[in-house]
């Protein structure tokens, strides 16, 4: 076997040669792209025949309205409040129905446990703790989520969301951020963890970090029911019942606006301090409006949301319910553990317009925002006689009995809107940024702002003797 070995070639050599050609012909990269497009033209032009139409296409006319100087912003706001209104109105009846069924079953469970001769602590942990936490989350969370999500997906499918980014980009540019940040915020309405993952659509790493750090200022679906319930009871309750829902929707819209405002403020502050930099470019496609696939949207978001809520309820709410029940029923001296913790947190809670129990509920709710209200109720209820939560009126009675005023309600809503993200969100932030520092900032920025805002509101109201 005779072999001749040809001269060896390495990739490096070829790269060097390619580099030489590139230097003598610096536009070769551009030329390649132009050539591909030239080929695409020669193929597409004879293949496509378009009937020339005189009239402007209807989606251009729609864009004229939706992105107009006059109507662009008002339409966005109206749509946002409309979504909240539909969610609040639509969720009422199914919420009540689910609550009726689940709490009726709780009574049945109690009977069965008694018949089985179960010790009272076991009944407490399993039924009054675990089951009740789970039932609350399902009854209160599921209907709004099942309505809210399809509505948002609908807007997305229609092609409206890129128009929102188009309309608002200028404000983001002034904050040296990216217009696509609003799209990540829209995802955040559903779930902040999903919102943070959505930040991938932003090209500039600096602007992506800004979007990650501020995503928590849009309230997710886990926080909406809390906002909606309190707004309906305290703010809506101030007016005649016909207007209750309208006022509640308005309050929630205003809170969301405040969240967006704080997003802008924090984005601006970040781009002038730790994330200093100029606004980079924006290339945003505005796809044509398309008829949404109603069936697919409702089926998918309903199935997706239901499994999501049920999974969270089982993983987060049930254990949290059990733990809260235990903490609320183990007594050290005069007070339960919950009582001790709440008493210890009371001064801080009071300073920011809350009370010890509310602050404790927010802390215990770190794993999932939707369990804040059930924990709070369990804490309140454990100290008095056992009450069942069956309706908003019942909730109102419980809260008022625990010395809630409009200021407590306002500060609780503000704290709920602005406070630390849940653990799932923090975990997503860690995975996306790959950095402990940015994850910590994702936690500490909202926390600081929540304490500051609530403190200022509470102290001002008290100084002016408004409560």
């Amino acid at each position: 076997m005779s072999t001749t070995i040809k001269p060896m070639i390495t990739l490096e050599e070829i790269c060097i040669e390619a580099e030489k050609i590139r230097l003598s012909n610096p536009n070769v990269g551009d030329k390649i792209v132009s050539d591909i497009y030239a080929n695409a033209e020669t193929i597409a032009r004879p293949a496509v025949t378009k009937k020339a139409t005189e009239a402007r296409p209807w989606d251009h006319k729609l864009d004229d309205i939706l992105t107009s100087r006059l109507f662009g912003y008002p339409i966005m706001l109206t749509l946002l409040s409309l979504i909240f209104w539909i969610t609040i109105t639509g969720a009422n009846i199914p919420s009540q129905m689910i609550a009726d069924i689940l709490f009726a079953f709780q009574d049945q469970l109690l009977v069965w446990f008694e018949l089985a001769g179960a010790p009272s602590w076991l009944t407490g942990v399993l039924v009054l703790g675990m089951y009740r936490g789970l039932a609350w989350v399902v009854a209160v969370m599921l209907p709004p989520m099942a309505i809210f999500f399809p509505l948002f997906t609908l807007l997305e499918d229609l092609g409206y969301l890129p128009r929102v980014a188009f309309n608002l980009d200028n404000m983001f540019k002034k904050c040296h951020a990216c217009g696509k940040q609003i799209l990540t915020m829209c995802m955040g309405f559903g779930c902040n963890a999903a919102g943070i993952i959505a930040c991938r659509i932003i090209d500039s790493p600096r602007e992506r970090l800004i979007a990650v750090l501020t995503n928590n200022f849009v309230p997710c679906n886990g926080r909406f029911p809390t906002l909606i319930a309190i707004a309906t009871i305290f703010m809506g309750g101030m007016v005649i019942s016909e207007l209750q829902i309208a006022v509640a929707s308005l309050v929630v819209t205003c809170l969301v606006m405040l969240g967006i405002l704080i997003t802008f403020a924090v984005s601006w502050a970040l781009s002038h301090t730790i994330l200093k930099g100029e606004a980079s470019s924006l290339v945003l496609e505005l796809p044509p409006y398309r008829k949404p696939q109603f069936g697919a949207i409702f089926y998918r978001s309903l199935i997706d949301r239901t499994t999501f809520v049920l999974k969270r309820a089982i993983i987060m709410a049930a254990p949290a319910g059990a733990i809260t029940w235990i903490l609320a029923n183990i007594y050290i001296g005069e007070l339960s553990i919950v009582g001790h913790l709440a008493a210890w947190l009371q001064p801080l809670g009071y300073a920011i317009g809350l009370d010890g129990f509310i602050l404790l509920a927010f802390i215990l709710g770190l794993p999932a925002n939707e369990i804040v209200m059930p924990i709070l109720l369990m804490c309140y209820l454990s100290s008095g006689q056992m009450l069942e939560f069956e309706s908003l009126e019942e909730l109102q009675r419980i809260l008022i009995r625990n010395n809630w005023t409009w200021l407590t309600a306002l500060c609780t809503m503000l704290f709920c809107l602005l406070h630390w993200p849940c653990t799932t969100t923090l975990l997503s932030a860690y995975k996306e940024t790959g950095s402990k520092k940015w994850t910590f900032l994702t936690f500490i920025i909202p926390t600081t702002i929540a304490f500051t805002v609530c403190f200022l509101v509470a102290q001002t109201a008290r100084l002016l003797h408004l409560v």
């Binding site: 792209v33 497009y37 992105t67 188009f166 217009g179 470019s281 924006l282 496609e285």
Partner: protein, 81 residues
């Protein structure tokens, strides 16, 4: 064609006007983005609409509506058609 209307920045084109790309002064990733969207020299571009704040502006390129910020559009040179 009038001299004033050749080799002008894309950002100066009025709504409804048609123009043709001459060259890109952009660098890096944005340059590639713009090229990949088919905004190569010779491509016709129509200015379609402004956002409510006047910036960004949407342009029709190869049957697709693309919004660009003023700073970026000013780095694209075009001939008015």
């Amino acid at each position: 064609m009038n001299n004033v209307l050749t080799n002008i920045p894309l950002s100066t084109i009025g709504i409804g006007s048609m123009c043709q790309i001459v060259s890109l002064n952009l660098q890096g990733l944005l340059r590639r983005r713009i090229l990949d969207l088919g905004m190569v020299p010779g491509t016709p571009v129509q200015c379609i609409r402004k956002s409510p704040a006047g910036d960004p502006v949407a342009y029709m390129v190869r049957d697709t509506l693309i919004a660009l910020r003023r700073e970026d559009a000013s780095q694209i040179n075009v001939n008015l058609m």
